[in-house]
Amino acid sequence: MDFVILSLVMLGIGVYGLLTNRQLLKVFISIELIATAATLNFVMLATSQGLGQAFLILAFSTDTAVSGVILALLVIVSKKYGTSDMGKIIQMLQDKGTSEDEVQ
């Protein structure tokens, strides 16, 4: 049961981070925490021998690839908008959207 508690705690931290942060990077880390908590469950609660561990390898390799892509995107976004604050970026996009509509 220890692992269930650990993954629950990780899930809790991740959700807390998602709720309180608007920095894209922190949001990303929170999401990774949640995903890792899920992977932990996969491994520890696997019923047939070896399958959970096999999934762990699969999950980690895809996770790493996804992280690479997301981090690259984050760099582009923060360079383009000069900030990595979700609220500000959404605000900018919305301002841009309304101004485009006005032109049409």
């Binding site: 049961m1 220890d2 990077l25 491994v43 609660l45 399958l51 561990q53 981090l71 500000k88 919305q94």
Partner: protein, 639 residues
């Protein structure tokens, strides 16, 4: 036996594999890329058709489940039976239609390599979904079609398209979670993921009845979200931000039918145990039927009020899928019931007439550059061919004999009548009357009357031939599909009690036709004689128009939930700042809060240093957890 297995693999592997080459070919020549996609779609359609003879001559059971081991205990395979082949043929056929149509409709757009890549990826995933022989494979493809839908809705990178794409993705995820839970419970019970294994498990009786009922309801939850049923139907209207060709393929003909496929497949699986079917009879089937009936009438009434031409077709789709659900809910004796077949038969005829509607709407939008029906009118002179085809579409949609929906919708109403729920029957008849009203309204607003000022300013032209030919083919199927009912029944290995002529003879037809007369009269007086009564009710401020203009307040309710969550998280942020505000990272937050309330964090220390720290922390965390898991796994320490 070998040949079917071979083409059943190729039919979804080829589009998936070919999708990778689309960007490469697009680098050299746009024209070559377009024809490449058409060729792949044609090959897919041909392979799908090649599955038909063996199923036709078979016994109606699954022919083969050739599978390849992937991970220990998990395999990938194909499951060939009438249900999956029916869907495969429909998807392959529509893939070809849309690939040809896209050449005309998407001409000169930016990012077409991305568009065609996603279309091929979608075709492969959708066929993979219906041909999968195990639930994990089905779920992977189930998610992939959702992803393609999201990416194609946001195709034009406009803020509202992006918002619509995200909304669709999140709303359908609710159902995905339910489906995943159902798969998990089934795996725990039978220790297998394959359909064949589950069927064997149910046949031997080694299952817990209460759990099976829960599984059935979770499956229903997955189908509701994917097929845009109450209460999660609002995403389909938002999905109309997609290019019209995508709406025709994903949001009318194939992807939204995934929920219907899922329910039909699981009813087929549950049917092997009569005790299980009788356990599901008191609650599960009536719930499906009620969801279907209520969605049908809600969708039809909303189609009556929207001014967006694609919105009418979207709500019409919602309403027609409601009919299919009502048919599945009437299948209380399992897959042998008329309702099961009626639902699938209507599924195909709906794909034909709704697809035709979308193709024509695409031509109209292409010609005049707006989706607002109030800016249209009098198009019959400028677009005579679209006018004639749209007439076929509205006759089919409203279910007039002898076109496709007359037989399929009639069969659904017959099957619901057999279950004897009077209120459901009345609501279904009311829906058919409203269906007639909304298609006539759309037709009148777009093609009849005087040309609007918006149209007089521009030169309106008929859609190009490459867009009209697919529409002609679909119109042909609208006419002949209903008459092929006995052939389809023998293909599905279903025994229908009444023949083709029976549809004209039974009691439902006169009731249904007599209902159309008052509706038609109201429409005639409103749109041709200028009678103001209905318009005043629609434009005025009364409970009915408020309810319809807000789409029954479903989206408002979801927004309230969203607002509640945002408020909760903002409160939590404030608590965190109050408690931990002295730490360096959050100090920046506090300073900027003080300077400019409502705006969050500016990074004071420069992005690069904290960036590296965070990544380092994440990597260390990853490594620690990985070491922990591998160690405990190697030492055999279980939970």
């Amino acid at each position: 036996m070998m040949l079917e297995e071979f083409s059943a693999w190729l039919v979804w592997v080829i589009p998936l594999f070919a999708s990778l080459f689309v960007p490469l070919i697009g680098k050299y020549s746009d024209k070559a890329r377009n024809y490449f996609v058409v060729a792949i779609a044609a090959v897919t359609a041909a392979l799908a058709l090649s599955l038909v003879p063996s199923v036709w001559n078979g016994t109606g059971q699954a022919l083969t489940t050739g599978s390849v081991s992937w991970l220990p205990g998990i395999s990938a395979g194909v499951y060939i039976d009438p249900l999956s082949v029916l869907f495969t043929c429909l998807i392959g056929f529509f893939a070809l239609i849309i690939a040809v149509y896209s050449i005309g409709y998407m001409k000169g757009e930016d990012g077409l390599s991305r568009y065609y890549y996603l279309i091929l990826l979608f075709i492969g995933s959708m066929i993979g979904l219906v041909l999968a022989d195990n639930m994990l494979q089905m779920f992977i493809f189930w998610e992939m079609v959702g992803l393609c839908s999201y990416a194609l809705i946001s195709f034009w990178y406009k803020p509202e398209s992006i918002r619509a794409g995200v909304k669709v993705f999140i709303m359908t995820r609710i159902g995905d979670i339910a489906l995943l839970a159902a798969i998990g419970i089934l795996f725990l019970m039978f220790n297998t993921l394959s359909f064949r294994g589950v069927i064997d498990g149910i046949q031997t009786g080694g299952f817990n009845m209460d759990y099976m009922v829960i599984v059935a309801f979770l499956v229903l939850g997955g189908a509701i979200a994917k097929s845009a049923q109450l209460p999660l139907f609002t995403w389909l209207y938002s999905a109309m931000e997609a290019p019209t060709s995508v709406s025709a393929l994903l949001h009318a003909a194939t992807m939204v039918k995934a929920g219907v496929y899922l329910l039909a497949r699981f009813i087929l699986i549950f049917s092997v145990a009569p005790t299980l079917i009788s356990a599901l009879q008191p609650l599960w089937f009536p719930v499906i039927a009620w969801i279907g009936v209520l969605t049908a009438i809600v969708g039809a009434t909303l189609a009556l009020t929207t001014t967006d031409i694609k919105g009418v077709l979207a709500y019409s789709t919602v309403s027609q899928i409601g009919f299919m659900m009502a048919g599945l809910g009437a299948a209380i004796d399992g897959a042998a019931s008329v309702g099961w077949f009626a639902s699938l038969f209507h599924m195909v005829s709906h794909a034909f007439f709704e697809g035709l509607g979308f193709l024509l709407a695409g031509g109209i939008i292409h010609a005049i550059g707006t989706r607002d029906m109030r800016l249209m009118g009098g198009l019959r002179k400028a677009m005579p061919i679209s006018f004639a085809l749209m007439a076929i579409m509205i006759i089919t949609t409203s279910g007039l004999p002898p076109f496709a929906a007359f037989f399929s919708k009639g069969l659904i109403i017959t099957s619901v009548t057999d279950t004897g729920n009077l209120l459901q029957i009345i609501l279904l008849y009311a829906t058919t009357a409203i269906t007639f009203a909304y298609v006539v309204r759309m037709f009148s607003l777009v093609f009849m009357g005087k040309e609007s000022e918006h149209l007089q300013k521009q030169h309106v032209h008929e859609a190009p031939r490459v867009m009209l030919v697919p529409a002609f083919i679909l119109a042909g199927f609208c006419i002949i599909w209903g008459l092929s009912e006995p052939l389809v029944a023998s293909f599905m290995h279903v025994n229908l009690a009444e023949g083709l002529l029976g549809a004209f003879m039974n009691i439902e037809t006169p009731i249904f036709l007599s209902l159309l007369i008052p509706t038609g009269l109201i429409a005639y007086y409103t749109y041709y004689k200028g009678y103001k009564g209905v318009r005043n009710v629609a434009a005025g401020k009364n409970p009915l128009s408020t309810l319809l203009n807000h789409a029954y307040f479903f989206d408002d309710a979801y927004n309230l939930i969203g607002k509640g969550l945002t408020g909760f998280s903002e409160g939590l942020t404030r608590v965190e700042n109050a408690l931990f505000g002295r730490y360096p990272d959050n100090a920046g937050t506090r300073v900027s809060h003080a300077a400019d309330p409502g705006q969050a964090t500016t990074l004071k220390r420069g992005p690069s240093s904290s960036f590296r720290n965070y990544v380092a922390a994440a990597v260390v965390g990853f490594i620690l957890i990985a070491v922990l898991m591998i160690l405990t796994g190697a030492l055999g320490i279980g939970v």
